[in-house]
Amino acid sequence: MSVVVLEGISKQFGRGGTTAVQGIDLEIDEREFVSLIGPSGCGKSTLLRIIGDLIEPSSGKAVVNGKTARQARVQRDYGIVFQDAVLYDWRNVTKNIALPLELAGWSRKRRQDRVREMMELVELGDFGSHYPWQLSGGMQQRVSIARALSFDPPLLLMDEPFGALDEMTRERLNLELLRIWEQSGSTIVFVTHSIAEAVFLSTRVVVMSSRPGRITDVIPIELPQPRTAVTREQPRFFELVTRVREALHLGAELDRAAAEATG
């Protein structure tokens, strides 16, 4: 079954304003890991928010888990992770992770058990009573991921979650994310700027171009699972990175041609 189905999605901001995305058709199956990649302003974050019903499309249909995007949000069918960890400063790690569980009305006992499980999953050790300002950026993002997965949503939306981290931390968290994806059995839609990150993580890479944002290419990444640090050193990995890079450049050229034609 498809977890996400987008049909003819377009989004205009303001009346006659900029078109963020146009004519998007995309289907994402269960257990897929799909990356959206493209230049700034190609609408990849907008698309992610349309899936999450945080933005309403101007036209087109978004179906999540067989329901409308709105129903899916109201029934808490997805967890979301932003570039900024968006932790609440007044809650310690444990309570930040438990936030969605509180909102869903879980009992204290059940919350505690689940939080402990989540802390193990993202390897937060015994940082449970620490406050966000006491954690490094990488640790904060782990908390954010644990929180997004705490209520076991079938879908995980990630908006450049590792964009603000240093390369070392980023690569380690990439590996951990793959392990978490394996263990949790969820479907992931992942927005990124990084070609290498997209290729390394994904089962499919969706290449977008800007003005207006649209899908120019969809590249299946058939690297073997599970992927490890060695995957990054395989020739096939580099070929796919090159393939995605070329698709991005082609998209950029199309942009330029379109701009010249209209301008």
């Binding site: 932003f82 007044w90 509180e102 909102l103 869903a104 620490h130 954690l135």
Partner: protein, 273 residues
């Protein structure tokens, strides 16, 4: 694992050491106080200042000691009025801020009048409040203190309630959280530091407001009336002793709110160190 934390939470059972450090922090201020008092005292010999213009600290001190029960009683009365006004003014300020944050159109309708109310000269308003609520009643003093407290608390709380990051709201929306939940779990906690800053300002304003109102008519045993009547009979040391008591109560109020802030905002780095 990622880099461990730079700052550990304060371990329990170190209160004594903390107090010790606090005392050390206060030493410079105490030195300044002593220097000023000694300088003030000595200035009479050197500059030949008239006692009625500025009494010696020692004279103020001994006057205070001689009349301490009367002065403290007056201070206590005024303090009660200030606390009453503070509670009403700040409470209303917080409620209005919540309403304004929830319904923006209320804000657009009310804000100009709130600003206008804040611009009313409080000295001019004090006699009017006395006329409304009665010269000798506490109500008029409480009203003035409340008016002074309202605006800073309202504006700062509103600022806090609306300074929530857009992504925090998106996150709450993704959890299908309702407006009440968003206020309870995001907006209000975000606003607390702003609110406490305003409450500290308001605590001092409340004390000032109560004394100003008493100046224009109050019961004979409160602080404003006491200071005024002592001036009228040229008892300057007594008037100064009254001011001293007013300051002491104002500072105590301020510190009490500061303490409350520390207790409530324990999660903040600046307060847990």
């Amino acid at each position: 694992m990622s880099t461990p934390v730079a700052v550990q939470p304060l371990p329990r059972g170190r209160v004594a050491r903390l107090v010790g450090r606090r005392l050390r922090d206060w030493i410079p201020a105490l030195v300044v106080l002593v220097v000023v008092l000694v300088g003030w005292q000595e200035a009479y010999r050197v500059l030949a200042i008239k006692q009625f213009l500025l009494p010696k600290p020692s004279a103020i001190g001994s006057t205070f000691w001689d009349n301490r029960s009367e002065l403290l009683h007056a201070g206590w009365l005024t303090f009660q009025e200030a606390v009453g006004g503070f509670a009403i003014g700040s409470g209303l300020g917080i409620l209005v801020a919540l309403a304004l944050a929830r319904w923006r159109f209320v804000g657009r309708a009310m804000m100009p009048y709130a600003i206008a109310a804040n611009a009313v000269p409080i000295i001019a308003f004090a006699p009017i409040a006395n006329a409304w609520f009665g010269d000798f009643s506490k109500a008029s003093k409480i009203a003035i203190a409340a008016v002074l407290c309202f605006f800073p608390v309202m504006v700062n709380t509103l600022r806090g309630l609306t300074s929530v990051k857009p992504q925090s709201l998106e996150l709450m929306r993704s959890y299908a959280a309702g407006e009440v939940e968003i206020f309870r779990r995001v907006r209000i906690p975000t606003a607390l530091p702003f609110m406490f800053t305003a409450l500290k300002v308001a605590s001092v304003l409340a004390m000032i407001g109560a004394i100003v109102a008493e100046y224009f008519g109050g019961s004979f045993s409160d602080l404003g009336t006491l200071i005024r009547s002592q001036y009228q009979v040229f008892a300057y040391e007594d008037a100064w002793a009254g001011i001293l008591v007013a300051c002491a109560f104002g500072i105590a109020f301020y510190l009490a709110i500061g303490l409350l802030e520390r207790l409530v905002l324990r999660w903040q780095p600046s307060t847990s160190e």
